[in-house]
Amino acid sequence: MNERRNGLKEKITNNQIWQSMFRHGYEKTGRRYTLQVLQNVWLHLHPPRVTRHAINFRFTWCMGGITFLMFLVTAVTGVLLMFYYRPTAEYAFRDIQYLEFDIPFGMLLRNMHRWAAHGMVIAVMLHMFRVFLTGSYKKPREFNWGVGVILLLVTFFLSFTGYLLPWDQLAFWAVTVGTNMARATPVLGHEGPFAPQDIVTQANDVRFALLGGTIVGPSTLLRFYILHCVAVPLLASVLMALHFWRVRKDGGISGPL
């Protein structure tokens, strides 16, 4: 049995095609374990070695990783959804209905995207809670905590911009309520304190900039679509790259020593 398995392994790995992709061998040595991480673009976010407590589920709860996983799921399902969705007031709602009823696995696709997005919000809050409870924001990780706070904000904003896209009553009014607060921004919102009268109006304040109109309308849909599918994911990716890189540069996962 063992011999046959080894023979099969030999067949799969000992040829030019395989070895052109994976350069490390399969011996059980530290050198190979190191190469396995260093020579793989996906794994090389990791250092070759970490302290033992850092891989303990009870320490990190794996929550940062889960947040990232949820982000990846939304990215993949989101791209698939984009094939079926047009961000205009005429089509948006009908495209979602079409997706649900006529596209094979369309409903499942939409569900996965939505629940992964909610899951990301839950996970990011728990991640922050864990980082706080282990005091991991303390020197030298102050800056990365700050990057994290911005990521928290970006996560909320990703979720919020996506909420509008089904263009149903739930979406429309949730976004109306959510963006109504912007009109009360001091100085920059037309109902806010210290807003210069006749200069800051309903048609040029921050809420207008966000909505592309005085109420949630077709241009809001387009704006939120572009923010949701292009601008904010890009920003999130850049910040996550920075975040992960800093985790390593700050000395890996925090520990007592």
């Binding site: 991480v37 794994l43 407590h53 990783g65 799921v73 629940w115 282990t134 102050e142 700050g146």
Partner: protein, 288 residues
């Protein structure tokens, strides 16, 4: 179905239910480790300080975690469908209209503060305050391990803000607010015609001040006085308190300002419930 049960099991409210279950679990997990570390004297994490290879040990855990989470997500997605209501209609306002669940703490604050505070200033200060945490917390202990007794002030403040002012308000906003944003107990039916007498008065009125200008000055004194509590305490205590000397004036002012701002919310809530206070400070430009 019972209307409250229906509300709790609404697809979009599942995440809140999940949080209400997950948060106590993780709090227990963290606090029990903290207690154990405190009792042992040295944190358990210090004993696990040797290095292990990421491949296979860390990657194995990550893949395992990913598989479990994908299973959960898969089951969640197969069993519960994302909601889709009627097509949007700007002329038909649902009552109540609610923001997405993660913003409901902010929407709930609107009961107690005007939109410019609840919707703009407080969120801004939450963000700024969170970013400031590492720079104002000068306690070198409790870095990289769970503990309870080595950083009581930090833990109590953060947990109070997170549990009470974020999670509880979110739950109240989602489950206990009905038409007109009125409060409904879980066993009560949502009655769109519920009449709530508007008997709220301003603080100055309670003190017998009836004219606009003195009322404004009175309100300003109360608010400024409240925020002055921080610096006053500092100048009284700085001679004797080693902690204050180490903290320094700038950090202290930031800490006390953020802390007092945070506590202003529960204070205003209690004033509203007990004395029906509407505003503390009424001015021609803004009300607080």
């Amino acid at each position: 179905m019972d209307p409250f049960l229906e509300l709790v099991t609404k697809p979009d409210n599942v995440p809140i239910v999940a949080i209400v279950i997950l948060l106590p679990f993780f709090t227990w997990l963290a606090f029990s480790q903290g207690r154990r570390n405190d009792l042992a004297g040295t944190p358990a994490e210090a004993g696990l300080n040797d290095k292990v290879y990421c491949w296979p040990y860390l990657c194995r855990n990550e893949f395992l975690c990913a598989i479990i989470i994908m299973l959960v997500l898969g089951i969640w997605s197969i069993t519960i469908d994302a909601p889709l209501e009627e097509p949007s209609d700007p002329t038909k306002t649902p009552n109540p209209s609610k923001a997405p669940w993660y913003f409901l703490a902010l929407q709930e604050m609107l009961v107690y503060f005007d939109p410019w505070i609840a919707g703009v200033v407080l969120p801004g200060l939450i963000i700024a305050g969170l970013i400031a945490i590492p720079y104002i917390d000068i306690n070198p202990k409790g870095k990289g391990y769970y503990t309870l007794k080595e950083r009581p002030f930090a833990l109590i403040t953060f947990c109070f803000g997170f549990f009470v002012l974020w999670i509880v308000l979110m739950v109240v906003g989602t489950f206990l607010r009905g038409p007109g944003w009125n409060f409904f107990a879980p066993w009560k039916e949502w009655d769109p015609h519920k009449v709530v007498p508007l008997t709220n008065v301003n603080l100055s009125y309670l003190f017998g001040i009836r004219n606009e200008q003195p009322a404004g000055i009175f309100g300003m004194c109360v608010v400024v006085g409240y925020f002055a509590l921080g610096p006053i305490y500092y100048f009284l205590k700085r001679g004797t308190s080693k902690f204050l000397q180490e903290l320094g004036l700038v950090r202290y002012i930031v800490v006390s300002f953020l802390f007092l701002t945070m506590m202003a919310l529960p204070i205003k809530m209690i004033l509203r419930w007990t004395l029906n206070i509407k505003y503390i400070w009424v001015s021609p430009w803004f009300n607080i």
